[in-house]
Symmetry: C2
Subunit: 229 residues, 2 copies
């Protein structure tokens, strides 16, 4: 979190992070164009850096780059959306099980704090922050399971999930149903591997079931406005 004071040193990662946040909080909607020069002006860096950011986000699946056309916030199809949650369903239950077998009291305390922060964000009606924390909860489970590769991998899937929620979610407030997270923390505390696995499995199935076919298209957004806070 050390943000350099020298204004010149805005790194590609920082730009990617801010763009990611804008996407997660729906200030940047799927399909929005990300013109290189515009991003340059906003962050006061050269196109070299901006291009690094955009390519990085493309790898994470948040941005689609079309040669000679430009970069756009990714707009997952319904099939891609299902695939993301199917992939998570393959991975996360096993991670929940492993986490239950490894979780220390410190880990459980950390998750408790995490859930509290999520609830607070919801109470303050900071939906974007709540969404981010809700996704990060799943990543933290994998961290406790001590599986660095899948942690990286799931972070990407979670990032895409936020995008998908923007497009295909039936009822936005459904994500505030934190009973599954509560149950998971309890299972981890009790070293209940089977329980943790089952809860995670059901939780992800719930999420998948709430995907909807409605057309998620909506008007474009000014990039500059989206990044202003």
């Amino acid at each position: 979190m050390t943000i350099s004071l020298k204004s010149k040193s805005v790194t590609a990662d920082e730009i990617a992070l801010q763009l990611t946040e804008a996407i997660h909080t729906h200030r940047l909607q799927p399909g929005a164009k990300l013109r290189e020069d515009e991003v340059c002006d906003i962050f006061q860096v050269s196109r070299t850096i901006v291009r690094q950011s955009l390519h990085s986000l493309q790898h994470k699946g948040l941005v689609t780059i079309l040669r000679n056309k430009g970069a756009f916030v990714a707009k997952p199809t319904l099939k891609e959306a299902r695939e993301v949650f199917e992939a998570r369903s393959l991975i996360e239950p096993a991670m929940a099980r492993a986490a239950a077998l490894r979780a220390t009291p410190q880990d459980v305390a950390f998750l408790e704090e995490h859930m509290k922060a999520e609830k607070d964000a919801l109470d303050r009606e900071e939906v974007g922050e709540a969404l981010r924390l809700s996704g990060d909860f799943h990543v933290q489970i994998v961290r406790i399971a001590d599986h660095a590769l899948i942690e990286t991998l799931l972070a990407q899937l979670v990032a895409r999930s936020a995008l998908i929620i923007a497009l295909y979610w039936r009822r936005r407030n459904a994500l505030s149903d934190s009973s599954s997270h509560r149950g998971l923390v309890n299972a981890l505390r009790d070293r209940d591997a089977d329980g943790a696995e089952e809860i995670m499995k059901g939780h992800l199935l719930d999420l998948l079931m709430q995907l909807d076919l409605r057309d998620g298209a909506s008007g474009p957004v000014s990039l500059k406005d989206a990044l202003r806070k």
Copy 2:
């Protein structure tokens, strides 16, 4: 293989492909340094393009880039190696099941051809090509399962697997044990979902069991020699 004759039109992807092949065939060993200028000379392109390639390979997990230090062929730790195969064990059995339910006669014929090509490569003692085909077989299963996201994902894991084999394999020729692949194709042909899933599970477990703790370090290799064919 095809080194473009028009010196101007070597793309970043082509360079990444050739480097990947050199890594897979162990002509470039884990830890080898990839100096930007050197790669520039070899392919006659600017550093811009080379940097794109190296970053792309970093994302795939084949190359590690250290800031202000340079790019190196990745050298997975034993833990990372195990994680790769654990991740595959979570994903691939389910894909084998899905593939068994969807495989057309054309798909089965394609896999038969694929296995034959692999056997031919082994007969010709083209170990690198055989290794590549053996890995690609797994990716093709996912393609048949019609899961684009996991197909991309597994392709990366398979690429890393080749690296791991270079470092941690107990007996190189073990990969020539193609009976599991044979069994998989049969299961797909017979629409035997349970069988396909079980075979894949066992196959990956076999692979994991053959990882060895021996130190995989070895001397550096000349980059130019590694790319000459």
